[in-house]
């Protein structure tokens, strides 16, 4: 069993609890144990906090990392926004003495010290990593293959970009999440401008909703073109933008898509035999039942 401190973030536990529930259950079936990271906070939101003062962003993210350091476990998480904060701040502080000293000065006030002793992973990359799980093991864990479904993948931005600060390589034509999706028995479909942003990040969703929805709408048009049954992503914030965003697009622009949006963990949960109820799929703003009908 590979054990990790499970960093939840905000949107997964507080809006889409199915993401959290499925992450814990699905990972256990492939030998990954997610332990609660007690007292963790918002990562904090890289767009909102980082825009105001990067130093506070470093300190707040470092606090979360320190909690895991105290557990002596690497962090696993399921949100690209969290990945940006936790992975990147951990990476920066490990290599920048000046910033680390600054952060530790603040953390001293709450009896904490950032040491740089752990690493940070996205659960999806642990699934893909053959040393931890790997595509084959994931495939073996499937009991209810998603055969006959066409699933489009949204990678999101902060998991893989900027590519120099990450370790995933090609950010123009990546296929590794598609491999994961196909391991679940589904057909992955390609669509135009797959790597474009969902539109929510950088505080833009809160700053100018129409602007942010217009970006989402462009993605929705491209997705509609290829006739996907569902969109999957690895980021609850992207999920929120696509899921609630479709309702908002309907309200503001009068266009209806009705494309189910599922976190990869939710998708994996379904493939491993979890029921829709166990995933709280009723909390999704876009009805996922057309998709469920295809697999149940």
């Amino acid at each position: 069993m590979h054990e990790y401190a499970f960093f939840l973030g905000c949107i997964a536990p507080n809006r889409y609890p199915g993401c959290e529930a499925s992450a814990i259950k699905t990972s256990e079936k492939v030998g990954i144990k997610l332990l609660p990271l007690c007292g963790a906070s918002c990562c904090p939101a890289p767009g909102a906090f980082g825009s105001i003062d990067l130093n506070i962003w470093y300190a707040m993210a470092a606090r979360n990392v320190v909690l895991a350091e105290q557990m002596g476990r690497d962090i696993a998480l399921i949100c690209n926004g969290c990945y940006k904060s936790i992975y990147e701040v951990n990476h920066i502080l490990k290599h920048n003495d000046e910033l680390r000293d600054g952060v530790n000065e603040v953390l001293k006030e709450i009896d904490m010290e950032y040491k740089g002793s752990i690493d940070v992973w996205h659960l999806a990359e642990l699934y893909y990593d053959p040393k931890i799980c790997g595509v084959d093991k994931l495939r073996e864990s499937v009991t209810r293959p998603l055969t006959g479904t066409k699933i489009a993948v949204h990678y999101g931005c902060h998991l893989m970009k900027p590519r120099k600060e990450r370790h995933f390589g090609d950010t123009d034509h990546p296929m590794w999440i598609e491999e994961l999706v196909e391991a679940l028995g589904a057909e992955s479909v390609q669509y135009r401008n797959k790597m474009q942003c969902c539109g929510a990040g950088g505080g833009v969703r809160g700053f100018d909703l129409e602007h942010s929805l217009d970006i989402t709408n462009e993605k929705m048009i491209n997705l509609q073109e290829v006739g996907a049954d569902a969109l999957t992503e690895v980021c609850p914030f992207c999920q929120l933008q696509y899921d609630r965003g479709q309702v908002e697009i309907q309200e503001k622009f009068g266009i209806t898509y009705g494309l189910p949006v599922l976190h990869f963990n939710e998708l994996l949960g379904l493939a491993q035999g979890m029921s829709p109820d166990e995933l709280a799929l009723d909390l999704h703003a876009v009805d996922v039942s057309p998709f469920l009908e295809k697999i149940l």
Binding site: N14, C38, A45, R63, G202, V204, G206, I215
Partner: protein, 193 residues
């Protein structure tokens, strides 16, 4: 610095505003500060436009990241910090990925936003997130619908974060207070009302 014309007529002043760029418009400190906060070589921009061409916000707004890069190069502080387009970057980092000069334009934007925030120029939604985190530890706090759903899933109503362990919120408050950010957010938000 733009010359005043003193026509004594606001609409004429507006229409005929001095639009020259003067050599003393450059503030080198601004360039350097942007580079320090953004940890990137902003002054090396050669204005190829790869950033704008990659930008998901550009086709639907007047936001041009290349112009912000130009402002960074020339130290056009006022123009950069007061342009509301500054807040339209979704931080997707496509420009950073593709910049042939190996600059991180996204981080230039972040640095400029930091500098704007020092002047109390911050959109309200950013400050509301600060207030939420100060109060609950979460930018997107828990709510009753969600609590009910969590219980139905067999989980605790409150996740094991600061929601379930509110004693940790003190630490978060301490960090935010260290920078005086909560007070600033409260003040700016109340001034706007």
């Amino acid at each position: 610095m733009a010359r005043e014309k003193n026509y004594g007529n606001p609409s004429l002043e507006g229409k005929l505003k001095d639009r020259y760029y003067y050599s003393d418009d450059t503030n080198r400190d601004f360039t350097q500060e942007v580079e320090k906060i953004g940890r990137t070589i902003a002054h090396m921009c050669y204005q190829c436009g790869t950033c704008t061409g990659s930008c998901p916000s550009a086709p639907r707004s007047s936001y041009r990241i290349r112009l912000f890069m130009r402002r960074a190069v020339l130290g056009l502080e006022e123009e950069a910090l007061t342009d509301p387009d500054l807040w339209l970057c979704t931080t997707c980092y496509s420009c950073t990925d593709r910049c042939p000069r190996d600059i991180a334009p996204t981080d230039v934007i972040m640095a400029m936003r930091n500098l704007a925030a020092r002047r109390d120029i911050v959109p309200r939604n950013f400050l509301k997130t600060v207030q939420a985190i100060y109060k609950t530890g979460h930018g997107v706090p828990n709510n009753d619908v969600n609590r009910a759903a969590r219980v139905k899933l067999g989980m605790d109503a409150e996740p094991p974060t600061t929601c379930g362990f509110p004693e940790y919120i003190e630490g978060i408050k301490a960090i935010i207070d260290h920078y005086g950010l909560k007070d600033r957010a409260d003040r700016i938000l109340s001034e706007g009302e």
